[in-house]
């Protein structure tokens, strides 16, 4: 029996309003959001409404990442398709629980969500962008098969400086 939402360490599930406590904590933790495009602190109300804003589907597939062994939520990941004709989706990922930043959870999440995108959503291409100084993330993306496609200069202003965004892409057949 195929387990499209399950990796070796984690599984993906839909977001629930009952996830508000950890999402509220993660989105207001600079040690989490410094790696992301998110800039502003958020209220519990905002997070709660956002969590209620839709189940995973072809327009947007957002997931909670939880550990396989004890179902502990450790982060979130999402695929955001554009025009269906291009069969391309943008990928966003964050590990909210600091102690799971090492140990292969991010890598396993990447592999699981990319496999889901390719095999279940019939995507042809998955793309992402990442701060050029986030070398740990870049190494993970390379390891699972993403290729460097270029650098957008001064593409984001955050915390008093311009950032260079590395663009990476993964095509069908390249996932490792």
């Amino acid at each position: 029996m195929p387990q499209p939402l399950q990796g070796e360490l984690i599984r993906l599930r839909a977001r629930e309003e009952t996830d508000v406590d950890h999402f509220y904590r993660w989105i207001n933790d600079w040690q989490v959001t410094k790696f992301l495009g998110a800039r502003y602190v958020q209220s519990r109300k905002f997070e709660s409404e956002w969590l209620a804003s839709g189940d995973p589907g072809p327009q947007e597939a957002r997931f909670v990442v939880e550990t396989l062994d004890d179902q502990k939520p450790i982060g979130w990941v999402g695929l955001h398709p554009g025009f269906p004709e291009n069969r391309t989706a943008g990928l966003g990922i964050a590990i909210g629980e600091h102690e799971f930043l090492d140990g292969g959870y991010g890598t396993d999440t990447m592999r699981t969500v990319c496999r889901f995108g390719l095999e279940m959503m019939n995507l042809h291409r998955i793309e992402l962008s990442v701060f050029d100084w986030n070398t740990r993330a870049i190494r993970v993306y390379e390891k699972v098969g993403f290729k460097h496609e270029g650098v957008a200069r001064d593409a984001m202003w955050k915390a008093n400086r311009w950032h260079q965004l590395v663009h990476m892409g993964l095509l069908r057949g390249e996932l490792r």
Binding site: H124, K147, M156, W157, L171
Partner: protein, 192 residues
């Protein structure tokens, strides 16, 4: 105000930022609908644009309605010759105040104006509006990798090829690469 200030006298302030050597930008008007409908149903015009399906008059009217208020997040223009003939459209969309960046789009729909520098002049005027009016720091655009003529124009005015998204577009039965090109404050070239 205790006393009147002298009007700034720098050349760039004395001239309209919306006017170049060959073209000027103006807000879109309902009367533009007929030409837009003609152009954006012409496969020669849409070959390099993100358009696939036929467009109705109703859709064009709605587009003009949405775009006719020029503002920061939606700076959309008709391009006309200095004599007042509309030849295309362009815009800076999705401007982000924090990142001071926006995405550029341009189409010269009147094929009689495809050579002769109208596209280049439109690019220069639009980017100048982006930097000097909107206070942008970065302007970026997507261009299909096989659109060599457009890429040459973008490079001529100072854009740099930054990213090649492999097989990111499906059109005409196959996948194509898309380039992202970027232009930062201070990089716009106003002379050939």
């Amino acid at each position: 105000m205790s006393q009147a200030k002298a009007e700034p006298t720098s050349t760039s302030y004395a001239e309209s930022p919306y006017e170049g050597r060959l073209i000027r930008l103006r807000a879109r008007e309902p009367e533009d609908e007929q030409l837009l409908h003609e152009w954006f149903n012409d496969p020669e015009v849409t070959e390099h644009l993100a358009l696939r399906y036929p467009l109705s008059h109703r859709t064009e009217r709605g587009f003009i309605e949405r775009m006719s208020e020029v503002r920061y997040g939606n700076a959309s223009f008709a391009v006309e010759t200095l004599e007042g003939r509309m030849i295309g459209g362009c815009g800076l969309e999705g401007a982000s105040p924090e990142n001071r960046s926006a995405t550029l789009g341009i189409a010269i729909g009147d094929k009689a104006y495809w050579d002769g520098g109208y596209g280049t002049d439109t690019m220069r005027v639009l980017c100048r509006v982006g930097f000097e009016v909107m206070n942008l720091h970065r302007i970026e655009l997507d261009v299909y990798a096989n659109n060599k003529r457009a890429i040459r124009v973008y490079e001529k005015v100072g854009f740099q090829l930054e990213v090649t998204k492999r097989k990111a577009l499906y059109k005409f039965g196959q996948y194509h690469d898309i380039h992202i090109m970027g232009l930062l404050e201070g990089e716009l070239k106003l002379e050939d």
